[in-house]
Point group: C2
Chain length 228, copies 2
């Protein structure tokens, strides 16, 4: 069966991009400008070109449809059930990203009428099996945030421990004890005190911390484990 001419499924990529706002956890959707599902909201994504790397394809679609660039993408799962796309057999490699919404203005572009963040608890009907992909993505994020410091992409580069705790509470969907949280995170050793303080708040300003990727890489290499 030669590679260049046997009949084969089409291959696409789809991205579940999560952000955080006052409304809680949100996900980036685009409004489709083409059939099928024209006018429906969907995860940003599209077909992989021949000789295109999967991650590059995901980045390209994200850039083309939403204007987002430079995010960290993690491969989630590959969905290939028959019937998931009315156009025929389309296998989709799904990716997850976490972004700080304030740093990334989104704007609709190619093939997309509009692009916007929606709270995960209040979504429109989604095209294809994107509700399923999104459920898997959310589960992955919730599962992973408990043992890997992956939430930091959702915050500004410098943040207070209260903001970080709030992030964890939002993603995990439960409250955490302030003292225990601070003890655990500071003891973990990958937070760097910037020496700076919050400004312009009508109460005692909090210290600002930074995530230290090198320190974390060192800890991980040495078999460190942390659980929230």
């Amino acid at each position: 069966m030669p590679t260049y001419d046997h009949p084969r499924p089409a291959l696409s990529v789809d991205c579940a991009v999560f952000g955080l706002s006052e409304r809680g956890l949100e996900v980036l959707l685009v409004q489709r400008d083409l059939a099928p599902f024209e006018g429906s909201w969907a995860l940003p994504g599209g077909f992989v070109r021949e000789d295109e790397d999967l991650e590059e394809a995901a980045r390209r679609e994200l850039r083309e449809e939403t204007g987002l660039e430079g995010v960290f993408l993690e491969q989630l799962y590959t969905f290939g059930e028959r019937g998931r796309d009315p156009r025929g057999h389309v296998v989709s490699v799904a990716w997850v990203a976490l972004v700080n919404v304030r740093d990334h203005a989104v704007s609709a572009a190619t093939d997309a009428r509009d692009a916007a963040f929606f709270p995960v608890g209040d979504l429109p009907e989604l095209a294809f099996d994107h509700d399923h992909i999104l459920a898997v993505a959310e589960e992955r994020v919730r599962g992973k945030v408990r043992y890997r410091p992956i939430g930091f992409e959702l915050l500004p580069p410098e943040f207070t421990l209260a903001q970080l705790q709030h992030l964890y509470e939002t993603v995990l969907g439960r409250e955490l004890d302030k003292r225990n949280f601070r003890k655990k995170l500071l003891a973990a050793g990958f937070l760097e005190d910037t020496g700076e303080r919050e400004e312009g708040v009508p109460h005692r300003p909090a210290r600002l911390y930074r995530f230290d990727p090198e320190a974390y890489a060192r800890l991980e290499r040495d078999g460190f484990e942390m659980w929230i």
Copy 2:
């Protein structure tokens, strides 16, 4: 970009099937009977047909090339780097399975000259990027066995605690304390005492246990967690 005619990568599946023997952890390989890499050893796998479900494709290839059937497959990762296949752009969805070697005779068939288990520490050169896929698969198994009772597929249906402990020690690559291991596993509540004993051993015969999938499903549903 219509689905039915745009140029697209080819899609394949590859399976990393692990088994256990006196030699330790082993993986199932096939000797290729076709170019490219004719005569090389490789993970069993092949092209996904149009309208074929991904998992079905993995099962079909496993059956055709090695005679294995009825195993539990878990999707591992999708590999799509340019240059991983000399025939062109081939994206491969990799799957992992664990099997009890004694229950599954393997035999070469379609497109494969031979099929056999090899100890993971003593492998031949592999075709394509299969050494890389296998490394990822091994990491997944080692990681997962610590918090999910996935090792049971590697043992006969009824097994002694010593066999189970040996399995964990083999997969994890370190020794475990017998008393603590027994305490933890029996307390976990998904092992069922069959009431039977080992037979024909030149020493006190051990109790035989069975993995109880329903009990485990119940525990998992209730948010149970176990760590070795």
